[in-house]
């Protein structure tokens, strides 16, 4: 009986609330960011109180310089989230633009675009990012630059594909016959039709960006100390793994929750926007 109820409860939750779970976590994170001024000063160095375990005064403990880890984690949220948003936003704009132009006009531009897309997909993203940041020099700005330079590809590919198929549809012919010019056609008629998959990709890209940014930070190539960034914090805390486990646990937890919320949102959106994924059991 209890098992049946549990089944129904969980089934209801997952079937309808993937988006809600994601939103819930996201809301929590945003609340943290908004309330961040209320936390302790993340830059305050207090060498007498360094490497203290979590306590009432310092819920996440203190790091090797005596700074409040909780405050640092919350402030890092600002950076990770904001930069990721920028990365995704820029990538999307560039990618959509390239995809639209390439798909619509075809020809040489299209051939070059396809070539570029193939090359970028020929290597795992993180490795290319490493090389770019390695070349430009470590830092938050260069990391973001690298991730944008690699991020536009996913948008360009899907938008180009959509444009190619939408281009042939009836209403485009009609609009053309009515005398609309190229730009108007692209923006007013083609773009709305290719937006839907882009939204899902963007959501998943957000989660991916946070991970990539943190990965670069962990490898010492992202945000540089003393800037608080989750990956960088994990790298700094690694040395003290034995003595101060809290330095390695909490920033990572923050990363996970953030990415989880975006993943859930992305999944939920994908299901919501796609009628074919309704579940029917066969027996």
């Amino acid at each position: 009986m209890v098992r049946a109820m549990l089944n129904v409860g969980i089934s209801f939750y997952f079937r309808h609330n993937s988006i809600i779970s994601g939103l819930f976590i996201l809301a929590f994170l945003i609340a943290m960011v908004v309330l961040s001024p209320l936390t302790a000063d993340p830059t305050k160095i207090d060498l007498h109180n360094n490497l203290h375990p979590p306590s009432l005064e310092h819920p996440f403990g203190t790091d090797n310089l005596g700074r409040d880890v909780f405050a640092r984690v919350v402030n890092a949220a600002k950076i990770d989230l904001a930069i990721s948003l920028v990365i995704v936003g820029l990538s999307a704009i560039i990618g959509i633009a390239i995809g639209l132009i390439s798909g619509y006009y075809g020809g040489l531009i299209d051939k070059i675009t396809i070539c570029l897309i193939d090359i970028f997909l020929a290597l795992p993203e993180l490795i290319l990012a490493l090389v770019i940041v390695g070349a430009l020099g470590p830092g938050l700005f260069n990391s973001a630059l690298a991730l944008v330079a690699l991020g536009w590809v996913r948008y360009a590919r899907i938008v180009r594909g959509s444009v190619l198929s939408v281009k042939e549809r009836q209403f485009v012919e009609v609009a053309k016959a009515a005398g609309i010019n190229d730009l108007g056609l692209i923006i007013r008629h083609i773009l709305p039709n290719v937006i839907s998959p882009v939204i899902t990709i963007a959501m998943l890209h957000l989660g991916h960006s946070v991970l990539s940014l943190a990965s670069l930070g962990f490898l010492g190539l992202g945000a540089q100390p003393p800037t608080p960034e989750w990956g960088t914090m994990l790298n700094e805390g690694r040395v003290y793994l034995r003595e101060a486990w809290w330095l390695s646990v909490f920033p990572g937890l923050a990363i996970m929750l953030t990415v989880l919320s975006f993943t859930l949102l992305g999944d939920g959106l994908k299901d919501a926007l796609n009628p074919k994924s309704r579940r029917i059991a066969y027996g």
């Binding site: 549990l6 193939d118 770019i132 390695g134 993943t263």
Partner: protein, 318 residues
């Protein structure tokens, strides 16, 4: 088939070459003269050091850095085709030799992780699809959502915290025994299997909704036969493709995992080289990884063609 294979090999070679060009471009275009960087980061080790013109020229001569980037690139390319990838700025040893020396470690880790991942994925994916909407199904979905979101370096640290520092049953880092292999491969395998489990599940669900499955049921076959004999074969075809794509993530993953666990493989070599701007080594590693990735993609493509009779036998005669 042969023609297709040759064509793909050629394309792969071109892509690898293009990657090497791109990498070289970026490394050369980076701020700071390469010779200066070598002096500052490697030879002297002090960021603040100001090398004299004499010192810069000496370094340029010794390391062969005289001339425009394009020339340098083609010189590198020509040497590379002949198997000479230059020497590391740091160790002075030939790049190829260093990479090959590290290859077994990475290969071991990669193979173990992939095997583990497949062992997790297939049963989970199949069970999840077969018992749709059950508790098991949601557990699988939760598993994959969780491990897609978790940063591999953090998971690695947590594993170390629990198993090495707290429970003390596994070593923290290093290389040399089976025990050293456990944590790194688990870290990689869980990440890989998160994505592939999802895909197996959705692929199988899609297959189970097809007409030919109804036909099989109408023949009186039992559910297990339908699942394993009829459905799975169809569902696994796209999964094979995804496993190939996962190899790409594996290669990225090894950079992180090898760094965390001090595993002496190519990933760690790349990470270390980037930190000290050891350009020939970076170049060599990137080319090597690109080549590996291309080969794996090729193998996956070929096996896809072999697995799917529609592709293998082409359009039939009536």
């Amino acid at each position: 088939m042969m023609g297709y294979l040759l064509k793909r090999l050629l394309m792969a070679a071109l892509v690898v070459m293009a990657t090497s060009a791109l990498t070289f471009c970026m490394l050369s275009a980076s701020p700071g003269d390469t010779a200066e960087v070598i002096i500052k980061k490697i030879l002297v080790g002090e960021e603040e050091y100001s090398p004299t013109k004499q010192e810069i020229q000496t370094v340029k001569d010794v390391f062969g850095l005289n001339g425009p980037a394009i020339v340098l690139y083609f010189r590198w390319l020509w040497n590379a085709i002949h198997g000479d990838f230059g020497c590391s700025y740091v160790s002075g040893l030939p790049v190829l030799k260093e990479i090959v020396a590290r290859l077994p470690a990475t290969a071991l880790l990669a193979l173990t992780s992939t095997t583990l991942s497949v062992l997790i994925t297939i049963p989970l994916g199949v069970l999840s699809a077969a018992r749709q909407n059950s508790l098991l199904d949601y557990a699988c979905l939760a598993y994959s959502a969780f491990f897609i979101s978790i940063p591999s370096f953090w998971f690695a640290l947590i594993l170390i915290l629990i198993f090495s520092l707290y429970l003390d049953i596994l070593p923290v880092a290093g290389f040399g025994s089976l025990a050293h292999l456990v944590l790194p491969s688990i870290t990689l395998a869980t990440g890989m299997s998160a994505v592939t489990t999802r895909l197996t599940r959705s692929s199988l669900l899609e297959v189970l909704g097809q007409d030919y499955i109804t036909t099989a049921r109408a023949k009186g076959l039992n559910e297990n036969t339908i699942l394993y004999k009829h459905a799975l074969r169809n569902a696994l075809i796209p999964v094979v493709t995804i496993v190939g794509i996962q190899m790409g993530h594996l290669l990225s993953g090894t950079v992180i995992v090898e760094t965390v666990f001090g595993w002496p493989g190519i990933g760690k070599l790349l990470a270390d080289s980037i930190e000290v701007r050891d350009i020939p080594m970076i170049q060599g590693c990137v080319v090597f990884i690109a080549a590996m990735f291309s080969i794996v993609n090729l193998l996956v493509d070929v096996s896809y063609r072999l697995l799917d009779p529609r592709v293998k036998y082409g359009e039939g005669n009536a």
